[in-house]
């Protein structure tokens, strides 16, 4: 539907328009990883609250305001991102009982850390330069993967519902990159599956 040139040029323009917000969201991401790693009381509630805000931001700023101009289906994805933000609030933030850390949930924190710290560097590996970096809280892929990592590290009632939209997004993103012949097309789905398998494994053991 769109060419790789147009797709990545749009990410470049979007990044430029938001700069230097990327630094802030990156720092926020690092803060969330540290918070989860230390397993402080209420950590999962705070992380969930921030994640909900970032799902809204990505849905509105990227999917709705930019990507939908070259992909009409992105409008529906934007609704999905808003739905995910609401679901996170309802399932993770509003309940009195805060989400519990899963035994061995540190692996999920590692997935989140990779999404925050390493995902932006993938554009360099793909040979596109830093202008098209996909930063946590700014672009959908690292935000979705970090959310899956978070969910793999904690447990809350009904939180299985929160895996659906990030997983669907990773599938869509992988298909998009594969269709465009991008060399790192396999990354979103691989990281998503890594997070999902960790979550399943830890929950079985819990």
């Amino acid at each position: 539907m769109f060419s790789p040139r147009v797709y990545f040029r749009q990410i470049e323009t979007y990044n430029l328009a938001l700069w230097p917000l990327q630094i802030l969201t990156l720092l926020v991401g690092v803060g969330l990883v540290c918070l989860l790693a230390r397993a402080r009381p209420n950590a999962s509630r705070i992380v969930a609250m921030v994640l909900a805000a970032l799902w809204l931001l990505v849905g509105w700023a990227y999917l709705w305001s930019h990507f939908s101009s070259i992909n009409w289906a992105a409008t529906y994805a934007a609704y999905g991102f808003v739905a995910q933000a609401i679901l996170i609030l309802v399932i993770q933030v509003i309940p009195r009982r805060t989400g519990a850390s899963l035994p061995g949930g540190f692996a999920g924190v590692v997935v989140m850390a990779v999404a925050v710290l390493l995902y932006p560097g993938l554009s360099l590996i793909a040979g596109r330069g830093p202008e098209t970096s996909e930063v946590f809280g700014i672009m959908p892929d690292p935000t979705a993967i970090a959310t899956i990592g978070f969910l793999a590290s904690t447990r809350q009632r009904y939180d299985v519902l929160l895996f659906v939209i990030p997983t669907l997004w990773c599938v869509v993103s992988t298909i998009t990159l594969f269709t465009m012949g991008d060399s790192i097309w396999w990354v979103p789905l691989s990281m998503c599956l890594a997070g999902l398998s960790l979550a399943i494994d830890k929950r079985r053991g819990a």
């Binding site: 539907m1 147009v6 101009s69 070259i70």
Partner: protein, 309 residues
């Protein structure tokens, strides 16, 4: 039958005047619009050049002004080379808006033959979508509207026939691509008074030769050919192979021109619509509409040669 394309003096002056407004566009429309091969639309007799301009993927550039200007340059080169038919769809993202932007910059060439589609599952919303498309293009009405990929075709065709009867539209058509739903296409061609059918046809995808192209001739329906290069894959596939030595007989210099000449040499084909965002490529494509076309023997040799590669 292929004929030479000619435009009258007023149209030529409009094209030239349009080019005058193009400060910043290096390739100004020339006063000498080259003669290109044309074919008549059977239902109306109007002649259109055998090469048009598609917009799938290539013109979906969002709100990026630099890329919109690049597409405008492609349209300018297209009109400058004698092209007329531009095809788009609401399904093509921002392509309609890009075309509208380009037409505005080019001072709306009068030679334009606007071909768009209706693509919405709710038949009641068809007219509204068409109005929106007209707004994107900036045209008072379309020359051709097609039901895209047969989506709710029965109801949409009735709407399009009503528009045609009311003088709000010149031609009505249906489209498919990649060989899908050919039997349904045949049924519509037989049962409905459509002016155009759009299908996929190229040197390797020749299913339509069996029934659809002969039926189009029989029913006097114009044929638009999409995916002439299989979205560029065919050219990429052939790029490493030498052109056959007899291409000079028909004036083709590149694989793209050979592929296009193969398509337009089929007598049932009215127009092929390669899409590109590259000025050099649109010129190359339009050159295929000049010079000789293939005779049946040369078409056979082309098929044999390409299939061997």
């Amino acid at each position: 039958m292929a004929r030479r394309f000619s435009i009258n003096r007023r149209e030529a002056l409009a094209l030239i005047a349009g080019s005058g407004a193009l400060a910043g566009f290096p390739d100004r429309l020339s006063a000498q619009v080259p003669a290109v091969l044309t074919r008549p639309i059977p239902s109306s007799g109007e002649e259109i050049p055998v090469i048009g301009l598609g917009s799938w993927i290539t013109f979906n550039v969002g709100d990026d002004i630099k890329l919109q200007d690049e597409c405008t340059a492609v349209m300018q080169a297209f009109f400058g080379a004698g092209g007329r038919l531009i095809d788009s769809s609401p399904m093509y993202g921002s392509a309609q808006k890009t075309i509208g932007y380009g037409l505005e910059k080019l001072s709306r060439p009068r030679t334009l033959f606007s071909a768009d589609k209706v693509w919405i599952s709710d038949p009641q919303s068809g007219r509204e979508q068409i109005r929106q498309s007209q707004g994107f293009w900036g045209v008072p009405q379309f020359n051709l509207l097609q039901v895209h990929n047969l989506l709710s075709w029965d109801e949409h065709l009735q709407t399009l026939f009503e528009m045609k009867d009311a003088g709000q539209l010149t031609c009505v058509g249906i489209t498919t691509s990649e060989g899908r739903r050919h039997s349904e296409i045949e049924n519509i061609m037989t049962s409905q008074p459509i002016d155009f059918v759009q299908v996929t046809y190229n040197v390797l995808d020749r299913d339509v030769e069996e029934r659809i192209l002969p039926l189009a001739t029989e029913r006097k329906i114009a044929v638009i050919v999409n995916r002439p290069f299989r979205q560029g894959d065919l050219i990429a596939q052939m790029a490493d192979h030498p052109l056959p030595d007899w291409v000079s007989e028909i004036g083709a210099k590149t694989w793209a021109q050979l592929m296009l000449k193969f398509i337009i040499s089929h007598p049932a084909v009215t127009c092929a619509i390669p899409a590109t965002a590259n000025v050099a490529h649109v010129r190359e494509n339009m050159e295929a509409a000049t010079g000789a076309v293939m005779d049946p023997a040369l078409r056979k040799r082309t098929i044999d040669y390409v299939e061997r590669l």
